[in-house]
Amino acid sequence: MTSKNIKNEMLLEAKGLYKTYTQTSGFFVRKQRTIKALNNVSLSIKKGETLAIVGESGSGKSTLARCLLQLLSLDEGELFFKGKNLNTLKIEDKKHLKRHIQMVFQDPYASLNPRMKIGEILEEGLLIHGLGNKTSRDKKIRDMIKKVGLSVSDLTKYPHQFSGGQRQRIGIARALIVEPELVICDEPVSALDVSIQAQILLLLKDLQKELGLSYLFISHDLRVVRHMADHIVVMHQGKIVEQGSTKSIYEKPKANYTRELLNAIPGNHFKFKVS
């Protein structure tokens, strides 16, 4: 699998990631406990595809997202983005590469600055990365806000004037405006209503088709994942217990834990044997 052609298709590759947290407890007698949030995690995302990470809370999915975004430092392991090793890059080059990995957050209420207008929120990323001049930035912002289904007049409003679904659209616009290649979506619809959820999922799919994006989609809702993902990684207590294509995971789950997860989906009567 090391031939050059296959490597070129890879957008992001992670090899043997480790991350531990230490927890101190006790007031007089300090006790230390280490939690392995990531324990030998390896995965890869190809261009234009969606990789979903599923698992219950505490399984390390969000830690993984933060490590891939370089918001948290890794204890061990290597990250390759388009074949370049992120560990050995200079800070300047890293900043340039970071533009290509963006994130959409779970809580649309907490992730937008309440004191900034939507136009400013969208412009900020362009300014940080020094993209374009004033007129080209304006045009980009107008195009982007229309692309996510809002109107140009919304640019002068503040976040509190929008509903949850609209705010998530703004979050998506903010991520996409710097033209990333990989978007990490950390539970993007779990705070939303079913009908709004369907809108956002369809929007994400349409944008993927239009812009050729890759998604790393983190979710604990296996119904949503079935709809979005091409490949799935199942995590449990920091370890990958199973990975494969969406079809194979849903129809022939191998790991016990995956079967438990599938059996737990409400309303769908998967009856996999759990030993």
């Binding site: 079913v194 409400p266 309303g267």
Partner: protein, 272 residues
């Protein structure tokens, strides 16, 4: 079957804007041992309906219509008479267990507090009852001295359930009790609620926006849209053969884990 709760022509509107109708003409009955689910989007009035049964609405909202509990009209009761019913006849569980629990009181003491509102028990019996309730919701007795922050989300919701069933209510109202929880924990809590309902022959009013949960737990379903009931009936009928256009549209939004079903968001036009 004997009705335990009868809601007739319930209406909720703001006091300073009576023409705005938040809940309009809602009528339904609850029966012992049966679970009724209210489904709808946010803003459909499902939580307001539940709160008006408990008479917990904000003072800025006015409710009209009749609510009868075991044949007795409770809708005209005052704020001093209502606590006699709350907790004892009907109890409620909320969405976010952490905000409903007091962070500085141990969970054992909080359950005791719920018990001593209606029951006059001595210390020995209280402790016994707490141990029994914890066992009933699947938590070991020795956790009684723990504080809410030492528990996981699922355990906290179990404590809320223990508190709500403490005085053996005949109606349990659950307002999205599993929305903040994981799939695996969610399925455990749903199983727990079902078995408690079965064992104690309670009537359960379960509020959710998730049709998967409805399929799992409901006997009867009420679909609400913009403050009105658009469809109600047996769970099988509503899910398999929805009659109202809105119910159909809402069912189209729910992703399915078995095969690829085409998602279709609700087109916002009036369904009523």
């Amino acid at each position: 079957m004997k009705k335990i709760l009868e809601v007739k022509h319930l209406k909720v509107s703001p006091i300073n804007d009576p023409r705005k109708i938040l809940v309009g003409d809602v009528s339904f009955d609850l029966y012992p041992g049966r679970t009724t689910c209210i489904v709808g989007e946010s803003g459909s009035g499902k939580s307001l309906t539940a709160l008006s049964i408990m008479k917990l609405l904000s003072s800025q909202l006015k409710q009209t219509g009749d609510i009868s509990f075991e044949g007795q009209n409770i809708s005209k009761l005052t704020n001093t008479e209502m606590p006699h019913y709350r907790g004892k006849s009907m109890a409620m569980i909320f969405q976010e267990p952490m905000t409903s629990l007091n962070p500085v009181i141990s969970i054992g003491d909080q359950i005791k507090e719920a018990l001593s509102v209606h029951l006059d028990l001595d210390k020995k019996h209280l402790n016994k009852k707490v141990a029994f309730l914890l066992k009933e919701v699947g938590i070991t007795e020795d956790r009684a001295s723990s504080y809410p922050d030492e528990l996981s989300g699922g355990q906290r919701q179990r404590i809320m359930i223990a508190m709500s069933i403490a005085c053996e209510p005949s109606i349990l109202i659950a307002d999205e009790p599993t929305t903040a929880l994981d799939v695996t924990v969610q399925s455990q809590i749903l199983k727990l609620l079902s078995s408690l309902k079965e064992r104690r022959q309670m009537a359960m009013l379960f509020i959710t926006h998730d049709f998967g949960v409805v399929e799992e737990i409901a006997d009867d379903v009420i679909v609400m849209y913009q403050g009105q009931i658009v469809e109600k009936g047996n769970v099988k009928d509503v899910l398999k053969k929805p009659k109202h256009a809105y119910t159909k549209a809402l069912l189209q939004c729910v992703p399915d884990a078995k095969g690829i079903k085409k998602l279709k968001p609700i087109q916002h036009r009036a369904f009523i």
